[in-house]
Subunit: 243 residues, 2 copies
């Protein structure tokens, strides 16, 4: 059973304001929730699940607080049109502004679409990119659609929000690459060991001040007619050539 | 003004069944509609637009049939939560099953998510891939979200639905590549002039019968921890290395 006050509480977490106040976010679906349960640094505050899910997963739930609910209740608390068996309230991660790590990091400027934003987190995790620096114009990493699109990678990449220009200026001699429509052909570049890659908004591009800090403009050569590529797809292509 | 029967008609086009019967689909938003108006082989049957859009675009509308509507009417006929100024009823394209063309073609197996499906069409258009062969398990190319995600590329790529195994068997000596989690490292391959690339469903992979027809299994090396990549991102990465 979900009480009336629990229902209101869970629904409120659909808004960033309340996620910030409560310090938690919502993750939904068997695959994602299982990934989070198995991630060492993730704290799950509460799980709401259909009995069917509970029976399948009982063995590894240990001391987790699970409330069994029915389909109607799940529909009420879910942020999706097609709820999927289980919903978890998860403690936000401790993210802090840290210096550029060894290896390659991503700097995101104005990636507003939560699905694209989450997909980029998943791509970073695939390519072993340890951190993502975002400006305030990016989607909230704890938005339900973003969390969903990360497929669990949200627990493995250090993501923090800051003023990227100010942050980049403190990073010493690290090389900075800006993904642009015109620039050095990334498919002909040799892989790099270290560097920061700036990805901008599909329609607005990269902020002028941020762009000035870049040492090199890189681009994906167009062979056909599409005007641009989706930001997540572009990130995947660039990392596959640079990493 | 939108009449009651027009409203019902437009809303019915949210379903594949009615799109098939009527031979039309719906495209929304200034960018997409403009791209379709400018595409030589696209027939727009009717446009519904806010006055604001009409004033900005009057110069190139020529003989197109435009009905001016208000925000409330647009909300009623739109398939999106956030309607965007203009909606067009567009005649479906003539697509026919054709032999593998010169160059690279994509074969899609079970790409069900309309957003991913549309993004793949946009990627194909970017890389100059002329045709996409889809099985019946793929999303409908005329689904509103798919059309949206193509950003106009839907008018420039020949997409057809068929039994890919049967079709592939008729293609003579063309080389067939299957995108897999395990296979030859695509980032180390040299580009190819000709070939068919099979992309499967993210969770189910490629159908067994289809996979047997492949000459080579290719994969994107994983350097981090994510379990998989989104099918559209994987397609973008593979094409950037092969084209």
């Amino acid at each position: 059973m979900v009480s009336r006050s629990e229902l209101k509480y869970i629904q409120s977490l659909g808004q960033k304001k309340y996620r910030d106040i409560e310090g938690v976010f919502v993750a939904e679906g068997p695959k994602l929730v299982k990934e989070l349960i198995e991630s060492p640094n993730v704290q799950l505050e509460k799980i709401y699940a259909l009995n069917e899910w509970l029976e399948e997963n009982e063995s590894f739930l240990k001391s987790l607080d699970v409330t069994v609910i029915d389909e109607t209740e799940l529909e009420r608390i879910s942020q999706f049109k097609t709820p999927n068996k289980v919903l978890a309230i998860v403690k936000k991660f401790e993210t802090k502004v840290v210096p550029a790590k060894e290896g390659i990091s991503l700097v995101l400027d104005g990636i507003q679409d939560p699905g694209n934003f989450g997909t980029i987190i998943r791509i970073a995790d695939w390519f072993g990119v340890p951190q993502i620096i975002c400006n305030a114009d990016c989607a909230d990493m704890y938005n339900a659609k973003a969390v969903q699109a990360t497929m669990g990678s949200i627990a493995r990449v250090n993501i923090f929000y800051t003023d990227p220009s100010a942050w980049l200026k403190q990073q010493g001699s690290v090389r900075i690459y800006a993904a642009m429509l015109e620039g050095k052909d990334v498919t002909k570049m040799t892989s790099i060991r270290e560097g920061l890659v700036i990805i901008g908004n599909e329609s607005k591009g990269i902020d002028k001040d941020l762009l000035q800090l870049a040492n090199e403009r890189i681009s994906i050569p167009r062979k056909g007619s599409a005007e641009s590529l989706n930001a997540a797809v572009a990130t995947g292509i660039i990392l596959s050539h640079l990493v």
